[in-house]
Each structure stands twice: as structure tokens, then as C-alpha cells.
């Protein structure tokens, strides 16, 4: 301890204090302050740049997602449209078929009715013709048969017989 105190030089201490104060002042003013400021500035700049890059990346992602969504929507819409078209086509065809069927049925019915009418008309005409013909023939037969008195009587008798039998 004695040795230490003996070695302690007050003059050197004062010189050191003066030098250190001046050095502190000079270094802070001309070196540390500008250096610290520049470092902080640079770090903030880097941080900002990173943040911006991150934001840009996120934005890109959003954009991409939007695009994907739009594409999907478009695809879905197209599918829906196609489906609708198909459905419409099917309905139209079905309706057309039904209508055609109905038309055909009506036509057939009409045809059938006409045929029946014609048939009945033909039958009636035929009946009339046959009747006329029978009467003509009967006239001719009757005229010939009933030329004599006896015949007329036989016929009447025959008829009467039939009536009695009934």
C-alpha cells in the first residue's frame, strides 16, 4: 500500500484527467455522436426496408389470393352457366317431345274419329243401298209372285201362320 501511494503521481493524475476530459469532449463531438446517429439511422433504414419488403410480400400474397379467388369464381360461374344451359336444353327437348306427343295423339284421335265417322257414313250408305236394292228386288219379286190371286192368298196365309206362331 505504501508502495502504491508512493507510486501515485498527482501530476500524472491531473494530466490524465485533463487529457481524458478533452478526449471525451472531442470524441463525443466528432466521433461518437455522428457514428451513433449514423448507426441508428442505418438500422432504422434497414428495419424500414425489411418492413416494406414484408408488406410488399403480403400485398403480393393478397393479390395472388384475389386472383385465385376471381379465377375460382369465374370457373364456378362458367360451370353454373353450362349446367343451366344443359338443364334448359333438356327441358326444351322434353317439352318439345311432350308437345309433339300431344299433337300426335290429337292427330291420331282426330284421324280415328274421322275414320269412325266415315265408316259409319259408309255403313249407313251401304245399309241404305242394300235396303234400296232389297226393296227393288222385293218389288220385282213381289210383282212377279203376286201376279196371281192364289199366290197372294198363300202369302197372306203364310204370314198369318207366322204371326200365330209368335
Amino acid at each position: 500500500m505504501d508502495q502504491l501511494l508512493n507510486d501515485f503521481s498527482p501530476g500524472l493524475f491531473i494530466m490524465q484527467a485533463i487529457i481524458l476530459v478533452i478526449l471525451l469532449f472531442l470524441m463525443i463531438k466528432f466521433a461518437w455522436k455522428p457514428i451513433m446517429n449514423s448507426l441508428t439511422e442505418r438500422e432504422e433504414g434497414i428495419q424500414n426496408a425489411l418492413d416494406q419488403a414484408e408488406n410488399a410480400r403480403k400485398e403480393m400474397q393478397n393479390l395472388q389470393a384475389d386472383n385465385d379467388r376471381l379465377l375460382k369464381e369465374a370457373r364456378a360461374e362458367r360451370d353454373a352457366m353450362m349446367k343451366e344451359a344443359r338443364e334448359i336444353k333438356d327441358t326444351i327437348i322434353a317439352e318439345a317431345k311432350e308437345e309433339a306427343h300431344e299433337q300426335a295423339t290429337i292427330l291420331i284421335e282426330n284421324a280415328k274419329a274421322t275414320i269412325k265417322q266415315e265408316q259409319q257414313a259408309a255403313i249407313a250408305e251401304l245399309k241404305k243401298k242394300v235396303g234400296d236394292l232389297s226393296i227393288e228386288i222385293a218389288q220385282k219379286v213381289v210383282r212377279k209372285e203376286l201376279a196371281s190371286q192364289d199366290d197372294q192368298l198363300r202369302l197372306v196365309e203364310g204370314m198369318l201362320e207366322e204371326v200365330t206362331l209368335n
Binding site: 503521481s9 493524475f13 490524465q16 472531442l26 470524441m27 463525443i28 466521433a31 461518437w32
Partner: protein, 372 residues
């Protein structure tokens, strides 16, 4: 640590080569006849001489053919405050004498240099007389503001710092990325900021103290490294220098201490009143021991480092009789190289620890307690 390997090797080799050279060549007048150092006492005296501050800058000394002692180096200005005011002259006036035999008379004031200290002779005395403990009886120490080797070292370190970091600061004006020397210096600044100041002081307050911490860190580190060069500075091994550095830390800590800090010292919260009274003097003592530990740690480490390196170099002389010239030199070289490499680490470590603890103490002073 990102320091290229090459400069360390280079520095080490240089340090070894030159310090061995100085040991061979011998020092001042204290080291026996013809400057030869070949005794244990001579070596001890030489080491002691080296560890002390010096008033002239001597690279090495030798004895020429005519038997004259020659010193290669240059004198430094001596500035002393004496009883008759400020006196200045060059240290060459002492003719490298360090035991008080050469008396310089300056405007009626007689001055002598004894073991690197300037003494003022009392009125009427012509020569310094010593008692049996080799203390001067008729002279007293003068207040010595000389530009000694240590002061020169500090100025040099300051200049280096100012040029290096000044250029780094200017470099930022040209672009955000430093070029040249700045590329090496910037990571060091970042290291001090991110590894020392920020974690210990806290995000909120650290900026205020960056100037002091950076200055102290690089100042100590550069001076420690300069101590490893053959120039033979031992600035951080001067107790006055470490006292001054620690005092600055002490003052800064006390002036930045907040209400909580003082409350924890004088009136410790959350303990019974008798304990508060007992704790106060302990805390006050703790306030003083912290910087004291700082100054002793730095001083002791650097002094010890120089002492060990020089002792190992001296092995080539002390072990010469046992191992022969080649053996002892080889042994001394290997050991000194090993210790010098460790000293390079210690040079950084001590600067780091000093700054670390300073920021820790500052951090304790500015810390905001929210637990009561």
C-alpha cells in the same frame, strides 16, 4: 472478436523480438556498470524501472567502442510546479540520471530526478542526501505535470482514436457502409454498444453514456496494446491513470443515480428500521469499493502482465548457467511468446471488464424499481 490473425502474430513477434532486444541492450544508469544486466538485483531494478513512468523516451541503450553509454530515443519536456512557480525544461538536462546525482538548477530552483520522480531540493542544499532507506532527506517531491512517457502514450492513444473514429464518422457522410479502416472499427463500436452498454444499462438510458463507455473502452484497450509493443509504454499500469479512470466512472454513476438508487443506499426499502440503519454505512462503503475494485483490477493486471513478460525474458540471463545460452534463450522465448499471446487477450479483457463493470454500475444507478 473479429481481428485478423496476422496482425496478432506480427505484433507478438515484434513485441518479443524488440523486448528481448531491449533486455539485452540494457537500460539506464540504474542497471549497474556499463549498462549490463546480469544479476538478479539488476533485473529486478530494471523491471521496476520499466514499470515506473519515465521522463524520457528511450528505445534502447548501448555502450559504444569508447566505453560511452549511448541512449537511442528522445527527451520529453519536464513541467514542474515548484515553490517558485512553474518550471519547464527538457528531460535531457538530467542526462539519463535517475538516482538524484544530477541536479538541475532552474531560476534558483534545484531539481533532481530519483526513480522517475522529480524532487525539489531544499533551500541551500547542493546535493541530494539519502538516509539508510534511500529516502531523500533534504528534498521533497514537486508537482510534476511533465509530458512523461505515459502522458505521451495517452496523447498518442487519443490521437489514434481521434483519427480512426473521426474518419469512421466522416465515412458515414459518404455512405451508410463504412470503407477502409472503418470496416474494422464499426463492429467494435457495435460490440461495445450491443454487448456492453445495452444489456447492462438498458434500452432506455444507454445512449447518454455511450460517449464515455466507448472512449474509456478504446482508450484502455489501445493503451494496453501499446504496452505490448517494444515502445514499452506502461500507461494502464500507472496507478494514477487507473485512479483517474475509475474516478470518472464513480462521478458519472453518482450523478446519474436516480431517486431509487439513493434510497437503496441510505434507506433500504422493505427491511426493518434497525436493518436500514445498519445497511446504510455498508451501502455507502459499497459505493466506494466498486470504483476502487475497478482501479485496482486494471492496475494490477497490467502491472502483473508486464512483470511476468519481463521476468520470462530475463530467464535467458538467469538460467544461462544451467541451460546454456541457446537453451535459456529458447526457453525464455517460448514462455514469453506464450504469455505475450495471453497478454493480448488480457489487454482486451481488461478494457472489456472495465467498461462492462462501469456500465453495470451505471445501470444499477439508473435502474427503475417497480417492486414497491
Amino acid at each position: 472478436m473479429t481481428i485478423a490473425k496476422k496482425p496478432i502474430y506480427f505484433l507478438t513477434v515484434l513485441a518479443i523480438v524488440f523486448s528481448s532486444f531491449t533486455a539485452f541492450a540494457g537500460g539506464g544508469e540504474t542497471s549497474g556498470k556499463e549498462g549490463q544486466i546480469n544479476t538478479q538485483e539488476g533485473i529486478n531494478a530494471y523491471i521496476k524501472h520499466h514499470l515506473a513512468d519515465s521522463h524520457d523516451f528511450t528505445l534502447f541503450s548501448y555502450t559504444n567502442d569508447a566505453g560511452e553509454r549511448k541512449h537511442v530515443g528522445f527527451p520529453l519536456p519536464v513541467i514542474v510546479w515548484t515553490s517558485k512557480g512553474l518550471k519547464t525544461f527538457m528531460s535531457s538536462a538530467f542526462h539519463h540520471n535517475d538516482d538524484g546525482h544530477v541536479v538541475v538548477e532552474k531560476d534558483g530552483v534545484k531539481l533532481a530526478k530519483i526513480h522517475s520522480k522529480i524532487y525539489e531540493l531544499e533551500e541551500g542544499a547542493e546535493h541530494v542526501s539519502f538516509d539508510e532507506h534511500h529516502h531523500a532527506t533534504n528534498a521533497h517531491k514537486a508537482l510534476d505535470f511533465s509530458i512523461t512517457k505515459s502522458v505521451m502514450g495517452m496523447l498518442l492513444a487519443g490521437l489514434l482514436m481521434f483519427l480512426g473514429f473521426g474518419s469512421l464518422a466522416r465515412g458515414y457522410k459518404k455512405g451508410a457502409i463504412p470503407t477502409g479502416v472503418g470496416r474494422v472499427l464499426e463492429p467494435l463500436v457495435l460490440y461495445v454498444r450491443d454487448e456492453i452498454a445495452r444489456p447492462n444499462i438498458g434500452e432506455k438510458h444507454y445512449r447518454k453514456f455511450m460517449g464515455f463507455l466507448l472512449t474509456v473502452f478504446f482508450f484502455i484497450w489501445i493503451l494496453n496494446l501499446m504496452g505490448l509493443t517494444p515502445l514499452g509504454f506502461n500507461v494502464t499500469g500507472q496507478i494514477a491513470v487507473t485512479v483517474c479512470l475509475a474516478l470518472f466512472t464513480f462521478i458519472i454513476v453518482q450523478f446519474s443515480g436516480n431517486k431509487d438508487y439513493w434510497k437503496h443506499i441510505f434507506w433500504m426499502p422493505n427491511v426493518p428500521i434497525p436493518m436500514k440503519i445498519i445497511l446504510a454505512p455498508i451501502e455507502v462503503l459499497g459505493m466506494l469499493t466498486k470504483p476502487f475494485a475497478l482501479l485496482i483490477r486494471l492496475f494490477a493486471n497490467m502491472t502483473a502482465g508486464h512483470f511476468v513478460v519481463m521476468s520470462l525474458i530475463a530467464l535467458m540471463i538467469t538460467l544461462k548457467s544451467q541451460f546454456g545460452a541457446v537453451g535459456s534463450t529458447g526457453l525464455s522465448l517460448a514462455l514469453a511468446l506464450f504469455i505475450s499471446v495471453i497478454e493480448i487477450l488480457v489487454a482486451f479483457l481488461q478494457a472489456f471488464i472495465f467498461t462492462m463493470l462501469s456500465s453495470l454500475f451505471i445501470g444499477m444507478a439508473v435502474e427503475e424499481h417497480d417492486h414497491h
